[in-house]
């Protein structure tokens, strides 16, 4: 039951003067039960790609395989709603999707749409709100009356309550303050490790890719440039340099030190190991 793209093309507004090919012959297989980052400059097709995962978009050419479904343009793709229960998609700045009278009701909206019983929906919603760090005091408040960061968390809880197997998030930390961003990424790691969810994150934050993700897909101008494990991407080979994106901070420091004479060739997975490696070289010389 894979998640795969097979020779997928997507063209916006075909046969009009605004025609635009957003995805060009994509061949991609996403590993289940891992956290995959999707990176690339604006306009590279990331959003278009992920919208295929819950059938908001259907390929113009080619086939998308999601769990036990197949989506292609020459089929009648019916019952897309059941797919959306298993693949939850959270858009960028999801705060704007809140609309219900109370926060609890808003989070229950998704589960109820997917025909969960009211009691079940309530349970799942309360669990979801706890997961995002919002306690009972929030249940009866209006979703429009809280801070932006809290709204973001309510929106994400709204998708978590549906309990999808696959969670796709488009820039979930955009605009959050550093601590908010950190707790959000840690939540995704928990969802993956503890609840075995497959997670895809579209992001611009290379530090997050390095610190939290297992795999990375790099896109540019509608094509997949590379798809590797995060460690291979950053530490082996030249792909990282071709990407023209800012390196994560830890790697930038390593680069800067190496330029000035340090070797630092051991594996450095976090700041403590970096400090240790620096100390080692200074003490041994």
């Amino acid at each position: 039951m894979p998640i795969a793209f097979e020779k997928v093309n997507y063209i916006y507004a075909p046969k009009t003067p605004f025609q635009y090919e957003a995805l060009k012959c994509i061949d991609l297989a996403i590993e289940l039960n891992k956290i995959t980052a999707i990176i690339g400059p604006t306009g590279s097709g990331k959003s278009t790609l992920v919208q295929h995962l819950n059938a908001l978009l259907v390929p113009t050419d080619g086939t998308v395989y999601i769990l036990d479904r197949e989506l292609s343009s020459n089929q009648k793709n019916k019952d897309l709603k059941s797919l959306r229960q298993r693949v939850g998609l959270v858009f960028q700045f999801p705060e704007y999707q809140l609309f219900e009278e109370t926060i609890l009701k808003d989070v229950m909206f998704g589960p109820l749409n997917f025909k969960m019983s009211e009691e079940d929906a309530r349970q799942k919603s309360m669990t979801a709100l706890t997961m995002v760090g919002l306690d009972e005091s929030f249940y009866e408040r209006s979703p429009l009356d809280i801070s932006g960061g809290q709204k973001r968390r309510v929106a994400i809880a709204g998708i978590l309550a549906i309990n999808p197997d696959v969670l796709v998030l488009d820039e979930p930390t955009a605009g959050l303050d550093p601590q908010g961003a950190k707790s959000m990424m840690e939540l995704f790691v928990e969802l993956n490790r503890k609840y075995k969810k497959t997670i895809l994150i579209v992001t611009h934050d290379m530090d997050h890719v390095l610190n939290y993700c297992d795999n990375v897909v790099v896109m540019k101008k509608g094509e997949v440039i590379t798809h590797q494990q995060v460690n291979d991407f950053f530490f082996k080979g030249e792909s990282v340099k071709e990407i023209e994106m800012a390196l994560p901070q830890r790697l930038r420091v390593v680069e800067a030190l190496r330029e000035k004479g340090f070797k630092l060739d051991s594996k450095i997975s976090d700041i403590k190991e970096l400090a240790n490696a620096i100390k080692k070289e200074i003490s041994h010389e």
Binding site: L56, K81, L89, Y96, Q97
Partner: protein, 264 residues
């Protein structure tokens, strides 16, 4: 939506496109008045030929107009039917197995059809050859003498131009909200009545909320840049009339004049 020519600006390169929007707007109003005078065949022939000439000058084609008339087709057929039954004056035109169709019925319907056709043609020429923003400027200029009596010409024009600027943005936003709610299981095609209401609410409420927030932020930005609605300000875009506009105005007034003269 792409096929509706009625009301949409078409970026063509014609003499009419380059004319001063104020003159075009006034001309349209004058012609509308002319269309309503009962000036008989000759009158409508005069109006009709002027309008057709303008249509061609604006590089528009009649097919487009006829397509715009399509929605009215049903109504016109119905009207013909009603008129045939109700109006039984004039001479007998057709005699169908004893059922008589009178001339007045047919001519009345014809009159209405022609008036409708001319009205659609005139408004289409205006909207197809004039950018919405230019029309707004024209409205602002034409109504500004009323500022003396407290009519907020500038404020209305500013509101219209901001609305126009944000229409594409709002359309994008609506699409995004629809997709976000679809991801939460919203399905406008199926569901009970209550579910459909919730689905619609899930689209409208966020749109309203974000629009209000947008309005607030916009107002802050405008104020911070020194905008005071009632204060004196200059305007970047200036409308300039030329000889062509005068000539066109003159022709239109002649049309109106002759139509009034014929009607009397």
């Amino acid at each position: 939506m792409n096929n509706i020519a009625l009301g949409r600006y078409l970026p063509l390169d014609s003499i009419v496109h380059k004319m001063d929007p104020r003159y075009k707007l006034v001309a349209m109003l004058v012609l509308m008045i002319a269309i309503f005078f009962p000036s008989g065949y000759i009158g409508y022939a005069i109006i009709g030929s002027f309008v057709l000439f303008s249509l061609l000058l604006a590089k528009l084609n009649i097919k487009m107009i006829l397509r715009a008339m399509k929605p009215m087709l049903f109504m016109l057929v119905f009207l013909t039917f009603v008129n045939t039954l109700v109006l039984r004056t004039g001479y007998v035109l057709i005699d169908l197995f004893g059922f008589k169709v009178y001339s007045d019925a047919i001519f009345q319907t014809l009159y209405i059809t022609i008036r409708l056709l001319l009205m659609i043609m005139v408004t289409t020429i205006l909207t197809a050859s004039t950018k919405p923003l230019d029309l707004t400027l024209a409205i602002e200029d034409l109504f500004s003498p009323l500022k003396r009596f407290g009519f907020p010409a500038h404020e209305i024009a500013m509101m219209i131009s901001i609305a126009l600027r944000f229409i594409p943005t709002l359309i994008d936003e609506t699409n995004r909200i629809m997709k976000a709610q679809a991801s939460r299981g919203v399905d406008l095609k199926e569901g009970t009545f209550k579910e459909k209401i919730m689905a619609i609410l899930s689209l409208i409420v966020p749109l309203f909320v974000s629009s209000f927030q947008r309005a607030e932020e916009l107002a802050d930005a405008m104020e911070a840049r020194g905008y005071i609605p009632s204060a004196k300000r200059t305007r970047y875009k200036q409308l300039k009339h030329t000889m062509k506009d005068w000539v066109m105005m003159f022709c239109v007034i002649c049309v109106l004049g002759s139509v009034i003269w014929i009607s009397l």
